[in-house]
Symmetry: C2
Subunit: 421 residues, 2 copies
């Protein structure tokens, strides 16, 4: 009987065309990042459970794939609980591993550490279309730089990568966690409510101003803060950084200047190819952000294709909490980029000529191999195929694999290359 050969639930096999696109996208992104002085690192796919459940992963911590202990460590009896069974798990993002990596390898790394990470992460989400339990993330992070030169470079590098992937008409939305805090303070929310208020604001896109009002009211906040809050956030599409001091007189001058500085530089850098826009309603889900936050939205596409921000507290916490390590990152939504390019029927640039040579089943393969080697030495991609009865069908199959040139091999005859169309 045939075995069940489906991939594991919620995961997938990638066909050659899919891998080729993914590799092209990865290479394109890496080429840009490297020009900015980023270098690639790698961490194992598994991490200690205590790091994966430390609290910075939010919902992701509930979607852990845990790995069973082995040998003597695995004790099974009537008192065994789930937590006794595992001490490592598959990573659910690349940020927790980066922080651990930096903490342990710090002495071997430059003081300004510009890291690229690209790799698989795992989340046991309910399987649904376009969402998989193993997927790729692609992050850059700058560790050790306090000033917004870090934010500027992250946004430049990410935008340039997206431009090189033929994305245009995208918008970089930018905000600052400290602006959100000034906003919550100005409205008069109690300090302990800030986090929750931001989480509700984060839903503005989906539920609109009235939706946000209802959730805030249901949460029991006083009418006045809610009213002020909605008045300001309802203007998010048009509010500029110049108007900010009037709207939020309590906002720190530095925070404003940094925001204006980054916006100004990126606007010049964009040369009109994309936009950067302040958006006071931009929250970004993760609780660990401490400064500027950003997101890239592509028009005609619901959610964002990149996001990031400054998180100055997270790594210090891992190091024991005595010092603050400035850090800032930007993550490209790799799977979304792939999905969009596939929908756009993006054509990969063809680098080398692809030739298929059909040979008779019983031929002497020595001269055939010599011919193939000669063409390959010239840089051509050469596929050798035993000739099938239905030559037309065979050539069509080859054409679908991108072989636009073919030849019929006959011993002692010069090879005649023909167009496969």
């Amino acid at each position: 009987m045939a075995l069940n050969c489906n991939p594991v639930q919620g995961m997938r096999d990638l066909l050659p065309d899919e891998v080729e696109l993914r590799r092209y996208v990865t290479e394109t992104i890496l080429d840009v990042y490297k020009k900015y002085g980023f270098t690639q690192i790698e961490t194992p796919c598994t991490e200690h459970i205590h790091l994966l459940t430390g609290g910075d992963g939010g919902e992701n911590e509930k979607m852990l794939f845990k790995i069973l202990k082995r040998g003597e460590k695995l004790i099974l009896n009537e008192n065994t609980q789930e937590k006794d069974l595992c001490d490592i798990g598959l990573r659910f993002d690349l940020t927790v591993p980066l922080s651990r990596y930096y903490a342990i390898n710090r002495e071997k790394l430059p003081r300004q550490f510009k890291a690229i990470q690209t790799g698989s992460v795992w989340r046991a989400e309910r399987p649904q279309k376009g969402r998989y339990r193993q997927f790729t993330q692609c992050d850059i992070d700058i560790i050790g730089v306090k000033g917004v030169i870090a934010e500027t470079e992250l946004i430049m590098a990410t935008s340039e990568a997206l431009l090189n992937l033929s994305f245009t008409r995208f918008v970089v939305k930018i905000n600052d966690r400290r602006i959100l805090e000034s906003l919550a303070e100005y409205c008069g929310f109690p300090t302990e409510a800030y986090g929750n208020v931001f989480i509700i604001l984060d839903k503005l896109d989906k539920i609109g101003v009235e939706g946000v009002r209802k959730v805030l009211e249901k949460a029991g906040y006083a009418p006045e803060p809610i009213e002020t809050f909605l008045n300001i956030t309802a203007q998010s599409a048009t509010l500029t950084t110049d108007e900010l001091p009037k709207v939020l007189p309590n906002l720190s001058e530095n925070v404003l200047q940094d925001l204006q500085n980054v916006t100004r530089i990126i606007t010049l850098f964009s040369e009109g190819r994309f936009n950067i826009q302040f958006d006071i309603s931009l929250v970004r889900g993760m609780g660990y952000y401490t400064g500027q936050i950003f997101e890239v939205a592509v028009s005609d596409f619901g959610s964002s294709i990149a996001g990031g921000g400054r998180y100055d507290k997270m790594i210090g916490k891992m190091l024991g909490g005595k010092e603050e390590i400035p850090a800032c990152g930007f993550s490209i939504g790799f799977e979304r980029v792939i999905m969009l390019l596939t929908e756009m029927k993006f054509q990969l640039p063809q680098k080398a000529e692809k030739i298929v040579i059909l040979y008779p089943e019983e031929t002497d393969i020595l001269p055939l191999m010599e011919t193939a080697t000669r063409l390959r030495t010239e840089g051509k991609i050469v596929l050798l195929e035993a000739e099938k009865k239905n030559r037309r069908k065979q050539l069509e199959d080859c054409r679908n694999q991108g072989y636009s040139t073919f030849a019929i091999y006959t011993e002692n005859q010069p090879l005649e290359l023909r167009e496969n169309q």
Copy 2:
């Protein structure tokens, strides 16, 4: 308190230099393989336990990392056994996944399917120097081709990849499982003993002829077969394919011709850059091989750096056993290649000029970013660093990262690039 930030036991973090070398090696190998018409595929890192413990994985099946069931599937009570806890695990090689992939995706794949796979695999081996519990494999396989044109292309592609990685003086050892069977038959071992006899022969390198004799005797085989067997295998270093018919008169003519054909073609192809050598003592561990087997040995290095062979029965078995699917693969020992190149202090070719620009902490970053962008647009790698007090030390650190050019940035002054030495 600082958290334990070591990587999971037996696994490792890769520093930027290490990743750069690994990427270079991967790219070099892929570039060659693609010229031969191979295309890359990917499978998930996890597989169903029933596939991972199907028997073809040998010792590796005992080193599985299993993943804990989730939610309702996980039942813990006094009767729970280890086998009830997990239904998926991390893959321990890329061959089992390839067979599953082919079985399920066959209709979408070309009839001659030339696959490249490169990715991580996991084995819970006892941690020791140079051996890790997560490591990379790099395989090519040709599925659907019966003739030795497949073997020839695999050996050509793999040798060319190794040559391009600057390996020389390597030897491709070749044998055929059917020659081993003829040998065992000729010696007069009972059929059911063949497998075990081959396993013992596989240790010839390590324990020598006398060692093999002792193990065979201890296993209780008759003196006469042992004597004949040792007489023939002791000549393994010098025995040529031309002499084979005399030594093994029971050997099939086809098997011999195929072997001579491949050896002849590869000898020509090598142009003296490497050797191909018949070796009757070559066994290759895995039980699934059915035809030619091969291995690449580098002088001055104990074990092999690549290995493979034909396995015509494995995929058919997965499909339910009704048909035989011809298949043939070659795997480069990626981690060994990396280890050797590192020992050889292999220098990566430097593609782009690397420039570090030191800027004063308080500078206006707009013109600085414009300068950097201009240089990056010219294809240069540009690192921006806030100038530290100890400039000499800072530049030295940058030099260690490969930045051979530097400049001190001063506002409104033209940038002066200098050699960083």
